[in-house]
C-alpha cells in the first residue's frame, strides 16, 4: 500500500565554476496514495534529478538546495545519512533505465532480488525467496520457480527489467520510482513489460513516479502527468487533460511531435529510371572465421534482396538482433558479404573498403545513431566538416570556408557553431553536424542507422523534418534503419521488415495503412504505443504473449 507524497518548493542546483546553477526550480506537486505520477520532459529537463531527489539523493556535483519532500510521515530531506540509507530500498525503491547495467553479472538473480529485504532485515531469506517467486509469477516471468537461480546474462533484456521490478517491490515500498524502464527495450518487449508493471503497481496500490520522455507510454501508465522543461514545471494535470486538452504550448509541441506525420516524399522516381541506384541481391553476411565454403561462423544476414531507386528512402525495420545494422555495414563496406552482390549505380561494389575506389566511398555515406560517439570530441565542428571536403574535393581557403558555412546553413545550424567542439553542442545539434558531415561528401546514398533513436521526441521530429527536406532539395537517397515503425513510416517510401537476419516483407508507402501485411509487420505496427488511454488494454493478447 502506497503512501502519499508531497513535494514543495524543491530546488536542486549543480556546482559549476560560475557558482550554483539551478537545475530544478521551485517544484511543487503531490501524489495521492496508490496513484502514478509521470514526469515527462526532454533530456536535461531535470526529470531524473527530481525522481532521484525523492530518495533524498542528488547526483555527484548536484545538491538539493531547498524545499521539502514528504513520503507518508517522513520528511526525506531532514533525515540523517543512516536514516536515509534505511529509507532507500525499504520505503522508496528505484527501477533504473538499464537493467543490464544495474545487475551484478557475477551473482545469481535471486541473490540480488532478495537483497533489499535482507539488508533491511525485513524477513528471513526463505520467506524472501518465496516472496520473490510470487513476484516473478505476478510479473509474468517464465519459470518463476527457477529463474532466480540464473545469472543476469542468461535472461533477456525485458525479463531483466521485470526482475529489477521484483527487486524493487520485494520490500513493499511506499513509493516506487521507475526511471525510463522500457526505453531500452524493443516495442514488442515493451508491451509485456508495461503490462507487468501496470498490473503489479495497480494490484499493490503502490504510489509510483514514472519518468519518461515518451508520452504514449506514459499515457498507459500514469494517472497524472507533470511536464517539465529546464527544471521548471510547465503543466500538471490528469492524463486525459494533458493528452486531450494541453494548456501549455510546450506540452502541445510535445504532443505534436509524438503524433506520426507523413513527410513529403519528394521525387521518388522509381518509374522514371529503370536502373536502381542500389541493388542488393541474395546478400548473406556474418562475423567470425570463415569455413571452407566461405561461410562465416555466425551468419547474421541471409539472402537479403533490396532495391533502392535514386531519390527514394527505404526503411529497414526490425528488433534488436534482426541484422538491420549489419545490412548497413555490408553496404558501407565494413563487413564483407559471404554471398550475394551489392550493385551500386550499375557497378558491383567491392566487398570491403580496400576494394572500393574513393569515388564509391564518397557516394555512400553512413550516419550513426549516437552522435556522441560519431563525432571526434577533439575536433571542432569546422574541422569535422572540412575533412571530407578536403579529402574528396581538395577544397581550400575561402572556397572551403564558404562550403562549410553552406553546409551549416543546410542543416540549420548557426555559423557561430563552427568553432565549437562537439562537447559544447546539444544532442540535436550533434546529429545535425553528423548529417552535415555526410552531406559534405555530396553522396548519392546516405545510410542512416537509428539517427533519431537517441534524441528527444521534439528534437528527433525536427531532424526527421530536416532529412525529408534535404531529400526534396538535394535528391539524396536514404537507407533508413530503425526499430521505430513510426519514424520509418513518416520518412520512407518503402519499408523492409527484417527478423533474425531475413527479410520478411516489403511494404510500399501507399500500402502502409492497407492490409493485410505480413503478420510480423502487423505485430510491430500494433506494438507501437499509441497516444491514447486504454491502448495497452486494446492490444490483442497475442501481441503481448
Amino acid at each position: 500500500m502506497g503512501a502519499p507524497v508531497t513535494v514543495s518548493g524543491l530546488n536542486i542546483v549543480a556546482h559549476t565554476r560560475g557558482g550554483d546553477q539551478p537545475i530544478v526550480k521551485d517544484l511543487n506537486f503531490s501524489i495521492a496514495p496508490g496513484e502514478v505520477l509521470a514526469l515527462i520532459g526532454e533530456s536535461g529537463s531535470g526529470k531524473t534529478t527530481t525522481a532521484l531527489a525523492l530518495m533524498g539523493y542528488a547526483r555527484n556535483g548536484c545538491r538539493i538546495a531547498g524545499g521539502s519532500i514528504r513520503i507518508g510521515d517522513v520528511d526525506v530531506l531532514s533525515l540523517s545519512p543512516a536514516e536515509t540509507r534505511a529509507l532507500r530500498g525499504r520505503r522508496v525503491a528505484y527501477i533504473a533505465q538499464s537493467a543490464a547495467a544495474s545487475f551484478n553479472p557475477s551473482r545469481s538473480i535471486m541473490d540480488q532480488v532478495v537483497e533489499p529485504a535482507l539488508i533491511h532485515a525485513l524477513m528471513p531469506r526463505e520467506q524472501a525467496e518465496a516472496k520473490a517467486v510470487a513476484l516473478f509469477r505476478e510479473l509474468a516471468l517464465p519459470n518463476p520457480e527457477t529463474i532466480g537461480s540464473r545469472y543476469p546474462h542468461q535472461v533477456s533484456g525485458g525479463q531483466l527489467q521485470r526482475l529489477m521490478a521484483a527487486m524493487a517491490l520485494i520490500s513493499d515500498p511506499d513509493l516506487v520510482i521507475l526511471d525510463e524502464p522500457t526505453t531500452a527495450l524493443d516495442v514488442t518487449t515493451q508491451i509485456e513489460v508495461l503490462r507487468a508493471f501496470r498490473r503489479v503497481v495497480r494490484e499493490r496500490r503502490a504510489t509510483a513516479v514514472y519518468v519518461s520522455h515518451d508520452l504514449a507510454v506514459v499515457a498507459q501508465m500514469a494517472d497524472h502527468i507533470l511536464v517539465l522543461r529546464d527544471g521548471a514545471m510547465r503543466e500538471i494535470g490528469s492524463t486525459e487533460q494533458i493528452i486531450e486538452a494541453p494548456e501549455n504550448d510546450y506540452t502541445q509541441s510535445l504532443l505534436a511531435a509524438a503524433q506520426p506525420k507523413a513527410r513529403e516524399a519528394g521525387q521518388a522516381s522509381a518509374s522514371a529510371e529503370s536502373r536502381p541506384l542500389l541493388q542488393v541481391s541474395g546478400l548473406s553476411a556474418g562475423y567470425g572465421p570463415r569455413d571452407r565454403s566461405g561461410q562465416p561462423a555466425t551468419l547474421i544476414l541471409q539472402d537479403i534482396d533490396v532495391k533502392l531507386y535514386r531519390g527514394q528512402a527505404i526503411g529497414v525495420i526490425g528488433e534488436s538482433g534482426s541484422g538491420k545494422t549489419t545490412l548497413a555495414r555490408a553496404v558501407a563496406g565494413l563487413i564483407a558479404p559471404a554471398k550475394g552482390s551489392i550493385v551500386f549505380d550499375g557497378r558491383e561494389l567491392g566487398s570491403t573498403l580496400k576494394d572500393r575506389p574513393k569515388e564509391d566511398l564518397r557516394r555512400i555515406q553512413i550516419v550513426f545513431q549516437m552522435a556522441d560517439t560519431a563525432l571526434n570530441p577533439s575536433q571542432t565542428v569546422e574541422r569535422i566538416l572540412a575533412r571530407p571536403l578536403q579529402f574528396y574535393r581538395g577544397l581550400q581557403g575561402a572556397a572551403l570556408q564558404a562550403r562549410i558555412q553552406q553546409l551549416l546553413d543546410l542543416v540549420q545550424l548557426p555559423a557561430a557553431l563552427a568553432q565549437r567542439l562537439p562537447g559544447g553542442l546539444s544532442g540535436g545539434q550533434k546529429q545535425r553536424v553528423n548529417l552535415a558531415r555526410a552531406l559534405a561528401a555530396e553522396p548519392d546514398l546516405i545510410l542512416c542507422d537509428e539517427v533519431t533513436s537517441a534524441l528527444d521526441t521534439v528534437v528527433g521530429a525536427a531532424v526527421l523534418d530536416l532529412m525529408a527536406q534535404l531529400r526534396r532539395e538535394l535528391g539524396v537517397s536514404y537507407l533508413f534503419i530503425s526499430h521505430d515503425l513510426h519514424t520509418v513510416r513518416s520518412v520512407c517510401d518503402e519499408i523492409v521488415v527484417m527478423q533474425q537476419g531475413r527479410k520478411l516483407a516489403q511494404v510500399a508507402r501507399a500500402d502502409f495503412e492497407r492490409g493485410p501485411h505480413h503478420p510480423y509487420y502487423e505485430l510491430l505496427a500494433r506494438s507501437v504505443p499509441e497516444l491514447r488511454r486504454g491502448w495497452l488494454d486494446d492490444v490483442p493478447a497475442a501481441v503481448a504473449a
Binding site: G19, L353, L361, R362, I366, A374, N376, Q379, F391
Partner: protein, 286 residues
C-alpha cells in the same frame, strides 16, 4: 559547457575572478621546470667556482655564504655539483622518457589502427620485453656497452616502452571502436590519418599524465643506477650519483645529501603537477 547555454541571473557588480587559461599550480610547476631546464642549459657557465675545485674547504661543510648548499665529501661546492648534474639528470631522463612514451604511443596507435595480425605481433614482442626485469636489463646493457650516455638513454627508453605501449594501446583500441573512426574508415582515410588525427588527440591527455609518471620512474632508475655506480661516471655526476657520493653525510644531516635529493623531488613533482594541470589534459581541462 553549460556556461554558454544557461543565462545567469544579473549579479551585483562584484569583481568576478577571471579564469586564467592555465592555473596557478601549473604556472608554479612550470616555473620550477623552466628553472631546471635553464640550469641544465646555461647553469655550468654561470658558476664562478667549478665543482672540481677542492681542498681548501672543509668536508661536509654546512650551508654558508660561500657555499649555498654546503660542501661534499671532497670539499667541493654542492651547488656547483647539482647544477652540473642537472644536465645529466634532466637531459638523459627527459630524452629517455620522450623516447619511451613517444615510440610506445606510436607503436600502440599502429597496433590499434591495423589489423589483428600486426597487433598480435607487436603486443607479443612488447610482452617479451616486459618479461625481462628492468634493473637486470640495465645492468646487462651497462656491462655489455659501458655506461656511456647513449647507452643509458636507450636502456631507460627500452625498459619503459612496454608500459607506455600497453596503456596507449588499451586507450587506442577503445577509441578505434568509436563510430567517428568507422566514419573515417568508410571515407577511405589512410592508416596514418586515423592514427594521428582521429585516435591520437583523444588519448593524448592520459598519455601526457603517463609521461609525467614515467619521467619520474626514469629519473629514479638513473639515480639508482648511479647509486650503484653504473650510471654517469665520475667526475661527472647526475643527481643520483651525488646522493650516493655523499651517503656518508647521512648521519650528519648535511646539506650535501639533502640538496640533490630535494632537486630530484622538486623536478619529478613539478613535471607531474604541470602535466596534471595542463588545460585539456585528463584532469586539468574539464
Amino acid at each position: 559547457m553549460n556556461d554558454s547555454t544557461l543565462t545567469l541571473p544579473p549579479k551585483p557588480p562584484k569583481p568576478r575572478p577571471v579564469r586564467p587559461a592555465v592555473n596557478a599550480v601549473a604556472l608554479l610547476s612550470g616555473a620550477v621546470l623552466l628553472f631546471w631546464l635553464i640550469a641544465a642549459l646555461i647553469g655550468p657557465s654561470l658558476m664562478s667556482q667549478g665543482g672540481a675545485s677542492m681542498g681548501e674547504d672543509a668536508v661536509f661543510a654546512p650551508i654558508s655564504a660561500a657555499h649555498w648548499f654546503g660542501t661534499d665529501f671532497l670539499g667541493r661546492d654542492v651547488l656547483a655539483r647539482v647544477v652540473q648534474g642537472t644536465r645529466y639528470t634532466v637531459g638523459v631522463a627527459l630524452t629517455a622518457t620522450l623516447l619511451a612514451s613517444g615510440s610506445g604511443t606510436l607503436l600502440a596507435l599502429l597496433a590499434a589502427a591495423s589489423g589483428r595480425w600486426l597487433d598480435a605481433v607487436l603486443s607479443r614482442a612488447v610482452d617479451t620485453l616486459t618479461s625481462v626485469p628492468g634493473k637486470m636489463f640495465a645492468l646487462i646493457m651497462v656491462a655489455a656497452f659501458g655506461s656511456r650516455l647513449p647507452t643509458l638513454i636507450l636502456t631507460a627508453a627500452i625498459i619503459y616502452l612496454p608500459g607506455a605501449y600497453r596503456i596507449a594501446r588499451s586507450l587506442a583500441v577503445n577509441i578505434d571502436a568509436m563510430d567517428y573512426v568507422t566514419v573515417a574508415r568508410t571515407r577511405g582515410e589512410g592508416r596514418l590519418y586515423i592514427m594521428l588525427h582521429e585516435i591520437l588527440p583523444n588519448i593524448i591527455g592520459p598519455m601526457l599524465a603517463d609521461l609525467g609518471l614515467r619521467f619520474v620512474y626514469v629519473v629514479l632508475l638513473l639515480a639508482s643506477l648511479s647509486f650503484l655506480g653504473l650510471g654517469v661516471q665520475p667526475p661527472a655526476a647526475d643527481w643520483g650519483s651525488l646522493v650516493r657520493e655523499n651517503i656518508g653525510a647521512l648521519p650528519l644531516g648535511s646539506a650535501a645529501i639533502i640538496m640533490p635529493a630535494l632537486a630530484i623531488a622538486s623536478l619529478t613533482i613539478a613535471v607531474n603537477l604541470l602535466i596534471d594541470n595542463l588545460p585539456g589534459s585528463a584532469r586539468g581541462g574539464h
